[in-house]
Amino acid sequence: MPNLSFSAPTSIDEAVKMLAGATGTAKPLSGGTDLLVQLRSGRLRPDLIVDTKRIPGMIGIREESDRFVIGAATPGVTVYDNKALTQAWPGIVEGMDLIGSEQIQGRASLAGNLCNASPAADSVPAVIAARATCVIAGPNGRREAPVEAIVVGPGRTSLQKGELIVEFHIPKPKPHQSDAYLRFIPRTEMDIAVVGCAVNVTLDSNGVCTDARVVLGAVAPTQVIVEDAAKALIGHRLDEPTLAALDAAAQRACKPITDKRGTIEYRTKVAGVLARRAAKIAFERAGAR
């Protein structure tokens, strides 16, 4: 670490140039709540840290006609203080809000939680369920990618050298569309998900589901979009046979590991239970709109 450099550029172009031109490992820094822990433990030995927080637009939430634009380094407190976003996507805000303590919430960001690439990242499933995209800046200009394309395995992302996420685009909900995110931990606060589940549904005026996305966290190397769970919901009201089909589909999609937080069998069972509960909340919210 004696060769570590730190820089705090004020434009995206500058940040990309630094990240792309660095010899060795270069890491963008937003809240640092994962990066600094890895730096301290020696698990990560970067040669360059580029603080992104002084770049205009990297922190903050902007509302456009058909979407929310969230700066990549926007911390949790700014997410849940935003009334329009909380109203539109309570599940996304719940996911972000579940991460860490008040101290962590002041710093931890959506892009950091995503790019840390933990299968248990709480803010990620609901963002994927809302079909959000992210804008990535890099040496070859900008590109847009669905959020689910970023994490490719534990601790690994699809971002190339010199690339960083600049902002997230989250479409606004359609009529009768809403979401929910639930995570299971053995206590009430300050723990890492055993299972996380986001459900995003659109209903017709009779309460029948017309579109759905179900995303599980912490049950596979990456977040999992459970197509069969969405199929179980679409065309149905939330009756017991539908819930049972959803539960079974969620369980089938699990490829978890056994660790100190839970066994394979336990995680699989809990994934089904959380899918049921999150679906109930999402249907209630969507129906109330």
Partner: protein, 161 residues
Amino acid sequence: MAKHHVSTTINGEPVEFLCEPQQTLLDVLRDELNLTGSKEGCSSGDCGACTVICDGRITCSCLMLGAEAEGRTIQTVEGIAQGDKLHPVQQKFLEHAALQCGFCTPGFIVAAKALLDENLNPTEEETRYWLAGNLCRCTGYDKIVRAVLDAAAVMRAEAGR
């Protein structure tokens, strides 16, 4: 590697310091500025013993680089009392004996002060959630929560006058 020159505001005073890129704000406070009130517990953002207020938000100073403090406004436990007059949170921690070994106390004081800056009438539940990022192995938390709620009552009474 060149040291970073950082200009910042700590406890209301302009402060300049030099730091290595990998030094955390906590390292700088304790080792460069002799502000040893902020404690190093876990160094991973779990225990809250190093809590400071940065631009109005509590943060773990072990999870922030010293170089990031450029242009920010930092408050540490050393800046909570007004001269010889203890902040109500500090006074009530004494009266309720809301500490035993005392290692976690500075972090709790800073976090509780920030809570009461935002909300003079927190419920017990809100207080417990707010303080969930501060760990104490001695007290069992109850005395700490009572002290904070009592400090809030004192501050409400003062504000009402």
